[in-house]
Symmetry: C2
Subunit: 200 residues, 2 copies
Amino acid sequence: MAMQLTARTVRVLIGAEPKNHVTRDMPEVKVGFEGFVGDRHSGLTRKADVRTPWFPKGTLVRNTRQVSLVSTEELALMAEALGLPQVLAAWLGANLELAGVPGLTQLPPGTRLFFPEDVALVVEGENEPCRKAGRALEAHHPEQAGLASRFVKAAHHRRGLVGWVERPGVIRPGDKVKVMLPPTVAYSLPTEPGSVGQST
Amino acid sequence: MAMQLTARTVRVLIGAEPKNHVTRDMPEVKVGFEGFVGDRHSGLTRKADVRTPWFPKGTLVRNTRQVSLVSTEELALMAEALGLPQVLAAWLGANLELAGVPGLTQLPPGTRLFFPEDVALVVEGENEPCRKAGRALEAHHPEQAGLASRFVKAAHHRRGLVGWVERPGVIRPGDKVKVMLPPTVAYSLPTEPGSVGQST
């Protein structure tokens, strides 16, 4: 189990209003098993929605989407693709902006992030680009036609991750982060009856 | 996101006594967000132990090891490697024995298992072979010298998985299981400064 990647916490953000997608920068955030304290996505459970189409809408399921993370480098790539001076983590409704992890969005499910004041987060998976984030960008750049639609393409595999809290504590901007990848597993489905769909 | 693999529930088991590693077959098990109701590994949180050496021992962390799963096929491979007529799921302290998934132990973190009566489980990762399971085998085969030590090797990558409950419900022997793999992600650490350690 490798544990060499490190990152830096650039921003930590909270979305306190239930209907407002945009988050705002905080000098520190308390983190509990429910998520980031005061954030609208915190909770031990959540209702299934379009993000989890394998459950009937509204089904109560464990909340593994407590926290959303983006990277400084991928925000810059998005801005470049959209022809904007910058794309802010807050516009995407992110809770954390990290710098220094190449291809953050590609970190596999089960990746663990360790913060100095006890917090450990676990990656659930990629955060698929949505129109809400696109509309938040549009609100800041009304002069740009069709920004919300163009965002979905520009954000593809750059939109960051969602995850949950494994260990509570506090996160502050400037915090170093240790990134621990899960053991590499390559599993493929059997291609024909009787064949073994497994390799390591 | 592929969803073609299916499995069959052969047994569902509970370990009710805190100090007894062995589990026993049940005609049905109720499943809550805490885990399998009545099982000694259920709980929303757990204390970090040798299985999670990246946390100080005893630290309260989210319990993502609520349930352990083994496969009929891998149990047979273990028995063969050990020269035993059979290895029972109960001896390994497993909560579920599934049949029909090639290389069950190699299912990646984030794999989801859907049961007909609502339950969804998510894979945390491989369950590393331990001496406790080996000693349970030894208790059933005292004539076999060194079985506990040999078990660790025989169980390598066949010991099954641990995971947690995403959606509550009921599981019974005979239940069909749909297996949903997470999107394939290949992430490797940067090999030299400045290189990008990512590929898709």
